[in-house]
């Protein structure tokens, strides 16, 4: 069964079960690493219909381990789309009114060019021969997709975590293409602590003997243990201490007393092992290295002479930022510093902090206050842009 799923997720890298736009040699992707990526492809999903004047498009940017299947079942896991609670017919992001686009990021593993994709030069997976990708590279590729779709200005760009970084990059690099921006649970840079956690994850992958210097795919092997441990460590950072305790406490897993061994005695251990194991079925280990690196390199202020306000100078984009009280990966202060920069730039900005104990992952969950904020913000933006409001 595992072997079957391995094949499934790997085949998604080259032949995804979603639309793909392929950019040939005449349209290379300029990378921050200083090289060109060509040819390359972007896999994406759309929901709803683009209106006649192409003014109702919302681009959703996915997080580290997300993908383009935002509002429809995931082809690898069969589970509902990762933001299906928010996006769909009649939902807060109503696909009866909006044209929703979500693209797999460059460096990902579900159809956009990434380390698991076949390098046309060698006929083998890129593995570590793919140049390091940045958040800005991802956004450049998305821009090419948006151009390909013939859309001048996106009504809104929305995303959480790494998706929120892309939203900020979009608004900073292409302000005239973004009417409104909704970065959630994110920041204008990755903190030292965040880089530290990512490094633990990468070292875990690379310490797995099955990783083979990155060339595991051609050898028909996979660093599952290393990637699972990376996911386990990361997963803790997505939750809060309070939520973990509420959910699992010190409860034992299917037993009355500790076994005095190293089996998963505690429910939390069993839960994390499950999270690690299911993750390796759907995600490529090298992709995990590339995408965590992209987040680490993100520092919007540094790209503008150390002054974040310069990243947004003269912007006309309308912003709404959202943070969560128990998010210790991207604490409220990270959002607040973006808000202050936007204030200084004279931008139109709203900022909502939502009280919850569900940690960083709260942005993926059914959070009524989050939905109310998104709904209110999109309605007023729609009015300002002259779109019909429900």
């Amino acid at each position: 069964m595992v072997a079957l799923r391995v094949n499934k997720s790997h085949s998604e890298a080259d032949q995804p079960s979603s639309p793909v736009v392929r950019f040939e040699a005449d349209q290379p992707l300029k990378l921050d690493a200083g090289t060109l990526l060509s040819p390359f492809q972007v896999a994406y999903q759309t929901y709803g219909d683009l209106n006649a004047d192409k003014s109702n498009a919302i681009l959703v940017c996915h997080a580290l381990t997300g993908d383009q299947h935002v509002a429809s079942p995931n082809p690898v896991t069969g589970k509902p789309g990762w933001w299906q609670v928010l996006i769909g017919p009649g939902k807060v992001i109503d696909t009866d009114r909006f044209f929703v686009i979500c693209a797999n990021v460059i460096g990902g593993c579900l159809g956009s060019t990434g380390p698991a994709s076949t390098d046309p030069a060698t006929g083998k997976p890129y593995a570590l021969n793919l140049p390091v990708i940045t958040i800005r590279d991802m956004v450049r590729a998305q821009l090419m997709l948006i151009d390909h779709l013939g859309i001048d200005q996106l009504f809104c760009v929305i995303g959480g975590s790494m998706g929120g970084m892309q939203v900020l990059e979009w608004a900073s690099s292409y302000p005239e293409r973004v009417f409104s921006a909704l970065p959630i649970a994110t920041g204008a840079r990755h903190s030292s602590q965040n880089i530290a956690f990512h490094e633990v994850g990468r070292q875990s992958v690379m310490a797995d003997p099955e990783w083979l210097g990155g060339d595991y795919l051609v050898a028909g092997r996979r660093p599952e243990k290393g990637l699972a441990v990376a996911r386990m460590a990361a997963h803790i950072t997505y939750l809060s201490e309070a939520a973990l305790h509420r959910k699992f406490g010190r409860n034992l897993q299917d037993r009355d007393r500790p076994t005095f061994g190293f089996d998963a005695d505690f429910q939390i251990e069993s839960y994390l092992r499950h999270q690690g194991m299911t993750f390796v079925d759907r995600f490529d280990a090298n992709s995990y290295l590339y995408l965590t690196r992209a987040m680490d390199y993100f520092d919007l202020a540094a790209d503008h002479g150390g002054r974040l306000v310069e990243a947004f100078a003269g912007t006309k984009t309308r912003f709404c930022l959202v943070s969560f009280t128990s998010d210790w990966l991207f604490p409220t202060e990270e959002s607040r510093s973006v808000v202050h920069a936007l204030n200084a730039a004279g931008a139109s900005v709203s900022f909502v902090e939502i009280e919850t104990d569900r940690g960083h992952d709260a942005f993926l969950l059914d959070e009524p206050e989050l939905f109310a904020a998104i709904d209110g913000f999109l309605r007023s933006a729609a009015r300002a842009k002259g779109l019909a409001v429900r």
């Binding site: 309308r318 709404c320 808000v339 202050h340 204030n343 200084a344 730039a345 004279g346 139109s348 900005v349 709203s350 900022f351 909502v352 902090e353 939502i354 009280e355 206050e369 109310a372 904020a373 709904d375 209110g376 913000f377 309605r379 007023s380 009015r383």
Partner: protein
């Protein structure tokens, strides 16, 4: 941040001072009543700063552009002359440093509109004089130990402060309990005695 939300009889007077399509910052925007009124009536480009997170979340859900923040600490992040009007309605008396806040308002806005409860009103004076107690009135409903209003002033006090920071008073109004203007051309002492609220339009 607006601590007298149920008594905001000043809103009508404040709103009448704002021209159409002005760029407005409402400091202490509360539940967004004034911003919503200004957007509806005057099509302003309105922003809000509000201390209470609940107030902010409600505002954003209603489609207003509001952030959580503190007038005492967060005005510094706004650029010089970023707004046509900066409004501070029923909030000055709750700030830690009213002088600094007022200076910031006039740095950020071409004009500032400040409204506050008048501590020189005869009921307040009478309460102190006869009862010897800190006044608790319909307008000022808090006891001394739990009031958010830590820097009360009278209309005369406020005029002195404006002089001190070099703010020009373009217009002023004293309001009675129902928000009606009283004695348009009366001297300051009259307003200071009979005005429950005051609304000032200031310029740098």
């Amino acid at each position: 941040m607006s601590v007298n939300n149920n008594q905001r009889v000043d809103l009508r007077v404040v709103a009448d001072l704002i021209p159409k399509r002005a760029k407005v910052l409402d400091v202490g925007s509360g539940d967004g009543t004034l911003l919503e009124m200004l957007q509806g009536e005057k099509q302003v480009d309105g922003r809000g700063l509000e201390l209470s997170q609940r107030g902010v979340n409600e505002c954003v859900a209603r489609g207003l552009s509001v952030i959580q923040g503190d007038a005492d600490t967060d005005l510094v992040f706004y650029p010089d002359r970023g707004f046509d009007y900066v409004i501070l309605s029923q909030t000055l008396q709750a700030t830690r440093n009213p002088k600094k806040v007022l200076t910031e308002l006039l740095r950020i806005g071409e004009r500032a509109i400040v409204s506050f409860p008048n501590f020189g009103h005869w009921r307040v004076r009478l309460s102190l004089l006869l009862r010897g107690r800190m006044p608790v009135t319909k307008d000022l409903p808090y006891s001394w130990y739990d009031t958010p209003n830590i820097h009360f002033c009278t209309i005369r006090d406020f005029v002195t402060l404006c002089d001190e920071i070099g703010a020009k008073v373009e217009s002023a109004a004293a309001l009675d309990a129902d928000g009606e203007r009283i004695g348009l051309s009366m001297p300051w002492w009259f307003w200071n005695f009979f005005g429950q609220q005051a609304v000032f339009l200031l310029r740098r």
